[in-house]
Symmetry: C3
Subunit: 204 residues, 3 copies
């Protein structure tokens, strides 16, 4: 199995579980839990494919995504009582999904020959759009607009990935390493409560 495909399924598992956790927290019925898990898992890749014209979108041509999300949702439902530390579990899976999908989206942009800035934007959208849709459907203010340097972590990882690709040949280590960079930057940002400077003290 190609490493990018393996990473894609890993990100699908992580995001599906994060979506299922939010949906269960909102007391949705089992079908609603599956729908939110599904949208969270494939939302970013779907918008990326619709924008770039990779149609039909990825999950329609490969039934493995559907099965992966179904199993992940079932696991989340079955183990819901074990999750003593709900918010930490959610945060972990959300972060893994973000890391994986950033690099996949950026690589797809590179392969399609887009400008590096557009590739970075594609990676960031792939990573963030599923979570944004999850939050909108669950009627939360999208986390991306409120907290932390969520998207900045994606951008740092994507830029690192593009620089490494310029310097070296593509290797599996490069995918995994830059995925870890996104994850670590986000973990550090949350741990040390890093955020972008604001400028509203002087703003009427």
């Amino acid at each position: 199995m190609a490493p990018l495909y393996f990473l894609d399924l890993l990100g699908t598992v992580a995001f599906a579980i994060s979506g299922a956790l939010v949906a269960m927290n909102k007391r949705l019925d089992p079908f609603g839990v599956f729908i939110i898990a599904f949208v969270t898992a494939v939302g970013g890749g779907t918008i990326r494919d619709m924008l770039t014209g990779r149609l039909p979108v990825g999950w329609m041509n490969d039934i493995n995504y559907m099965y992966t999300i179904l199993v992940s949702t079932l696991i989340a439902i079955i183990f819901r009582k074990k999750l003593r530390f709900w918010s930490k579990t959610f945060f972990l899976f959300d972060t893994i999904g973000i890391g994986v999908f950033t690099i996949i989206g950026t690589e797809i942009g590179v392969q399609a020959g887009f400008h590096p800035i557009i590739s970075i934007a594609l990676g960031t959208m792939t990573a963030c759009f599923g979570g944004v849709t999850r939050d909108i459907l669950c009627n939360d203010i999208p986390i991306i607009f409120r907290k932390e340097i969520y998207a900045i972590a994606c951008i740092i990882g994507a830029i690192t990935f593009l620089i490494l690709q310029e310097l070296f040949e593509n290797t599996n280590y490069m995918y995994i390493g830059t995925t870890l960079i996104v994850i670590i930057v986000r973990l550090l940002a949350v741990k040390f409560k890093l955020s972008l400077p604001t400028f509203y003290s002087d703003y009427r």
Copy 2:
């Protein structure tokens, strides 16, 4: 006129009226009523076409959809005072639209050669997405996430359709019969207040 095309226009009428009723209930101006009617009627088919790459989307290539929605909206506005039983009328038209669009979306998936599960998902999305968009634009919590076995009715109808297609040749009776299955399952589900079992009694 091909039966699928006739059913498509029938579903368009039903969803346009359901959208117009919600919009009038929200006291939107006539243009807003038309927009909500339009989005409700074409929303599901539009997302289906964008995901599968049937572009431009259906209603852009056939002006009859636009005329159908315009006339349906006018009828809904003109007869608004006759609607003594608003919620029942809304529910009826919403259910007809769901039934029709489930089978159309599933059939399009089959014709495009997708996996049966993907075809079922396409049918369900075609049926449900217009109503979800209507509810989001009107600032309601999407009905699909809150009540009844809305989407389950679509899935049961779509599976029946796929099984019948395996067993027999495609006939107009099959389209109409499976559309009725979706409608009847939903009506029964609401009448007997059926819903999926939840599992939150034990959930912290």
Copy 3:
């Protein structure tokens, strides 16, 4: 530079600034301000391109849009303290964007050979969808559903454009003149508080 391309960048500047103003009003961090500016500026054209199959969507193939939005956002941030009359400034830029994008969207519909009514709808969507997305992301009720004859101004401008195209050859004056018609109709509508007649006095 082709006049349509120049107008497109002008509309991008106007909408980016309008989005940045709304985002700063909501106290988003600099990255959030950029995202909202970006979505507002390219949202309408993106949905138009996704519906009609012009993929990848426009801004992915031309990095100038990205640069234009980045610079516009920076200008909006830098000059935020100079904006004594926030709501008037916002309204001005929003209106310029609407005027420009209405005509561009309509012209793209004409060039693609769509029915005139579909071309008008494309122009109106190109003009309005960015603002609707901005309002949804910032958790406001979309302005288009609440106030003024927002979309009616687009439709009047688009119809005028189609009639002039029938009567005369395409000229730059025609683009600019019909853009001004949209802008003026909206300004007059707001000044004189014009709105569509409602019919709810008699509605239960």
